[in-house]
Amino acid sequence: MYQLLKQIAKVGIKTEAPPDADERLRVLSGELDAVVLKHFGRALAIRHVDAGSCNGCELEIHATNSPYYNLERLGIKFVASPRHADLLLVTGPVSRNMEEALRRTYEATPDPKLVVSIGDCACDGGVFGESYASCGRVANVIPVDVAVPGCPPTPTAIMQGILTAVSPRRK
């Protein structure tokens, strides 16, 4: 236990400042009004759905919870069920074998809800494109509010996408 506490004390706090929202990432013109966002704001529950990614984006989503990024300190946490979620964080291209599961997860998420698509494949199908087995981008299956490109996008970019989704649209 002494070694463990010593390690914690030695390392100290590594968390860095979070990024600002970026309007360029917004796809839909913010259906949530400012009043809702004021309450919704930064107490946000996220359900992650991997709809067919190569798992590269998942590595960076994990990293958003690492000490450097520490997403949870902003009141944003990952939850185990879509029924507890305000926002779906979707990676992929959406494989056709996940199409139904993604749609059902979206339907199970209570309104009002937000969707942030993560990664090049989720934004435009990426290297996998559309085919007999792939629906391509997430917006081909469910409505997307904010799309974050990158292969994979950095943890900072992912946080920026989430924060953009929950910030009121700047005119």
Partner: protein, 515 residues
């Protein structure tokens, strides 16, 4: 080549890997596999191909690892009723590969005990086969109901827990069907294929140059291993030699990938036994490494750096020194963290005896990678069939005996330290010279093999080239194909709350096996 050492007459395939190719009639497949099995061979991959544009029928391909290297068996099958004898009784990991080969190509394994679909869910109808050359890749069929007959466990007090495909954590999608009594797992049945996105069909629409990017995204956490295996296959088919500096840099990239993945999983393994301290410490170190990757190679996960012919980006001398410095620091911190894990009674109580795979079962089922080594199997491509730069590295194989979570954790620690040692050696003495060779276009029908010891296990890429630098057939094979069935066995008799821990100790790829 020494034919006496092989169970069939085979030709040496050109390329870095000691690989041999042989053609067999369907009737000769089982006797050959029986002989290979008796000689201690293991199954590396099984896939099919459509040869009708070449005026032939279909073909089944079986890749076996034997003491002298890799043997690629090709079995021609007729256009009408393409069938071959099942080999899943000899090599149990063949079962799912045979089912996938049927779903994608319609080649049928006779006498197989399991004819259920595997990669096909509801996205294309039965009797339609995406990897046939006359199948239009862009065609979308209406989704149909996906019925799948799970094996039912019956008896007093038995009930089922269905989990997935959308899981509770940040995990890839798949379905797990637990049959339990109380908290004890009586049976686990996996259903995968949710991420099938047509990767193999996609390769066939690409040039060899374009395919490198896709190969690096078969399984994102193994992007270096797949990109290297792909490059090796293309280089074999085209007769390209890689410059020594490129080979050394490839070794650096592969070991950096191994360290990053072990750091991440060691953190989660602490987290899964309620030691969140472990998660934060290891993920801090992993982030340090990813940032160093980005600063020195230009990508946090080292994607698209290995290309056919060499590597896409050179490493400046001061960056090599920078990497060595960060690796030194990570290694010394991980040694400290290992002693904290080792001395933590609560952690060890959860790790030890949990999710055990015996050496005998591992060998019989064909377990691969660090998980196999944790079950006492002395096997590592970097030692058994080293390509440059591994010939002179004298890799120490990280073997453990117990086969439980604790053994897989110990193997990961040992491999992490070994990788830092290899990296220090490589980085300190990088050969001078170019980082790329010109790649000639292979002529149609030329084949090549890439076989790489990735962080999870052995990654295979088998290439059959078409004319004009295009791809006739390419099979990328993730070691998860072999290891997923062992997870079903590892959990038996354990309690449901230990499943996430056991699962993470293997950390298998869904994308890599769903293709």
């Amino acid at each position: 080549m020494l034919e006496t050492e092989l169970f069939v007459a085979a030709d040496r395939l050109p390329g870095a890997v000691p690989a041999y190719s042989a053609r067999l009639e369907p009737a000769a497949l089982r006797p050959a596999c029986e002989q290979a099995r008796a000689d201690g061979a293991r199954l590396v991959a099984l896939w099919g191909s459509d040869e009708t544009p070449r005026g032939r029928g279909f073909a089944l391909h079986v890749a076996l690892a034997v003491p002298v290297g890799l043997v690629w068996l090709t079995v021609p099958l007729p256009v009408e009723h393409p069938r071959y004898p099942c080999i899943a009784d000899l090599f149990p990991s063949a079962a799912r590969m045979q089912r996938a080969a049927y779903d994608l190509l319609g080649v049928h394994a006779d006498e197989s005990a399991d004819h259920r679909k595997w990669l096909r869910h509801g996205a294309w109808p039965g009797g339609t086969f995406p990897l046939r050359k006359d199948f239009d890749a862009a065609k979308k069929f209406p989704l149909t109901e996906d019925r799948y007959p799970f094996v039912k466990v019956e008896g007093e007090g038995v009930h089922e827990i269905p989990v997935g495909p959308v899981h509770a954590g940040t995990i890839e999608p798949g379905h797990f069907r637990f049959s339990i009594v109380g908290e004890k797992i009586l049976r686990l049945e996996e259903r995968l294929g949710y991420k099938h996105k047509g990767i193999e069909k996609r390769f066939e629409s690409m040039t060899l140059a374009e395919g490198a990017r896709l190969a690096g995204r078969v399984s994102g956490d193994s992007t270096v291993a797949f990109a290297w295996a792909y490059a090796m296959a293309v280089e074999g088919a085209s007769g390209t030699e890689t410059p020594p500096r490129a080979a050394a840099l490839r070794g650096c990239l592969l070991e950096l990938e191994r360290i990053a993945n072990h750091l991440g999983d060691l953190g989660y393994l602490g987290n899964d036994v309620s030691l969140s301290f472990g998660f934060f410490q290891f993920w801090r170190l992993k982030e340090d490494l990813l940032r160093a990757n980005d600063a020195t190679f230009g990508h946090r996960y080292l994607m698209d750096l290995i290309v056919p012919g060499g590597v896409a980006r050179d490493l400046a001398a001061d960056n090599a020194a920078r990497l060595i410095a960060i690796l030194d620091r990570i290694e010394s911190e991980v040694r400290q963290l290992r002693s904290i894990y080792d001395e933590h009674a609560g952690v060890q109580d959860r790790f030890m005896t949990t999710g055990a795979i015996t050496a005998d079962l591992a060998a019989r089922m064909g377990l691969t990678g660090f998980a196999a080594r944790a079950s006492g199997i002395r096997q590592d491509l970097r030692v058994d069939h080293p390509v440059a730069p591994y010939e002179s590295m004298e890799i120490r194989i990280a073997v453990q005996e117990a086969g439980d979570v604790a053994a897989r954790v110990a193997a990961r620690f040992d491999e992490l330290f070994e990788s830092t040692r290899v990296l220090r050696r490589l980085l300190a003495r990088l050969p001078e010279g170019p980082i790329q060779s010109d790649v000639a276009l292979p002529s149609a029908g030329r084949t090549g093999v890439g076989w790489v010891e990735g962080w999870r296990g052995e990654v295979l890429v088998a290439l059959d080239a078409a004319a004009d630098g295009r791809i006739h057939r390419l099979h990328p094979h993730d070691p998860s194909w072999q290891n997923w069935p062992l997870l079903e066995r590892a959990v038996l008799g354990n309690i449901v709350p230990d499943f996430p821990l056991i699962n993470k100790s293997f950390n298998l790829s869904y994308s890599g096996q769903d293709l």
